[in-house]
Assembly symmetry: C2
Homo-oligomer: 322 residues x 2
Amino acid sequence: MENLIITRKQIEQAITYPEIIQAMEEAFYNYSQGKSVVPPVGNLNLEKAGGEVHIKSGFIKDDDYYVVKIASHFKGNRERGIPPGNGVMLLFCQNTGKLVAILHDEGYLTDLRTAAAGALVARVLAPQKINSIGIVGTGRQAFLQLALLKEVTDCRDVIVFGRSKERVKEFGARCELKGFTIHPSTSLKQLAASCNLIVTTTSADRPLIMAEDVREGTHITGVGADSPGKQELDPALFKRASVVAVDSRSQCFQFGDTAHALQRGMISEDDVVEIGDILADASLGRRSEGDITIADLTGVAVQDMAAARLVYHKVIKGACIA
Amino acid sequence: MENLIITRKQIEQAITYPEIIQAMEEAFYNYSQGKSVVPPVGNLNLEKAGGEVHIKSGFIKDDDYYVVKIASHFKGNRERGIPPGNGVMLLFCQNTGKLVAILHDEGYLTDLRTAAAGALVARVLAPQKINSIGIVGTGRQAFLQLALLKEVTDCRDVIVFGRSKERVKEFGARCELKGFTIHPSTSLKQLAASCNLIVTTTSADRPLIMAEDVREGTHITGVGADSPGKQELDPALFKRASVVAVDSRSQCFQFGDTAHALQRGMISEDDVVEIGDILADASLGRRSEGDITIADLTGVAVQDMAAARLVYHKVIKGACIA
């Protein structure tokens, strides 16, 4: 019983991309059906070091576990040569409170479940025929989004935008190894005009994708605006969209690109639908190939729960015996 | 780096009672001096199993760590033959977010730091000459309170009150092994009339110690009322008290025995002083042997931080190198 820790390496080896996408599908469905309990996110601000810590917790009512996740982002880490993101997930038994497993994922599961949510919403909302994928950002999340999109689309043609030429080049090289054809772009306008599936993965605090640049029949997924102040999408784009899908209505009313669009009066709360509701009723999603659709992902604890239980079952190869 | 876990056994062996009392003294001092950051407590209610989970987090500003503690209480566990309390504390580096250690204390540190706080307030507030200690409750916390009081008083004469004769007997036997003389009592009135140091350690939701029963010159520590709804002390007792000390003013204004006394108008917020402030200025404490003093302990994250860093330094025998 001493050996509770599951390492990042074990996690990376244990779960496949289709499995994590499937887990996100169940997570969003359960969440929107009211089958989960997800208390407010806890925050610690380590001002001295510019660190941000999020504590997310929750459970699915008829599941065996509850999960507590502590994820951090210390921007100064890059200068130290270590990744800015870090984290650990704890899995406890819902009947006894016993600690079942410690997933020392170092932030990997948060990255992976975010990318898997991106793939899921692309499968659910993107047009059938994707001619070119637009990726904004060149970080770890940008790479994972592409890696998981491979599971849901045949398109291998990618236009990428990033502020650093060097990082765009490195990113392109990594993606070409994965079988993508990469076209760097220095213009977000051109990227938007050329792609009908766009994913934004930056930490921007102002709009990058403008309403007038997006063509009919495009799906846009925003994953960067995951806390107050952040923004990637033009609020006016929400007015053009036929579907505004979010992971959590209550959370996206508070922050994320959806909150900005609401504040600007571009849409009303009634225009916003949860991904889990679209999964339960496809008529709430895209209705024609000409629709513009948006998915605003801010990250909910139910995704962490689903990721943690998937890892546990795959690594331990059994159910919770507590 | 894989071996991050410090087990309960290691923790029990590593720290002495004087050390944990000293750690609590520093913790309360830092807290009241505004040197710590302690966000609101997170709660998960596992209704199905009658489980309660508290998530406490925080840090001392000029320290190396931040701490997240997950502690649970599942009342159904007793029937399963396992302890109701459980928990784990995580120690992270304040500069990088790196996970430094996992203290798998199974709730032991929460119990220990609570008892150490009881000993500390007895040292600070109790009258010089204690003739008899009154203990209300016969659980693990009751035992630990006595065990730690041994460090701060020479009195070995104890009157104990518990609802189950059997449990009183077991408790008495354990305490006599520790050098105490135990007198069971079936009357709280008699206990209050006979003792000038009283500690209540129950999960009661109505007053056990009545104002009119307490004699002049008594100190009372309440540790049971640690969440909304719980209560152990007669609100009128607060009116008689010369000192109403709490671990955290903001927390005790919300719940605990102090909150009940405030709601009933027996005292005002200005009558409530933090233990950390008494440590900084002894004139805020007991002024004469005839004073009645109260300490209301609800438990604050800064105690968990202090306990966690003490364990880490004792077990790893070095500072945080992250």
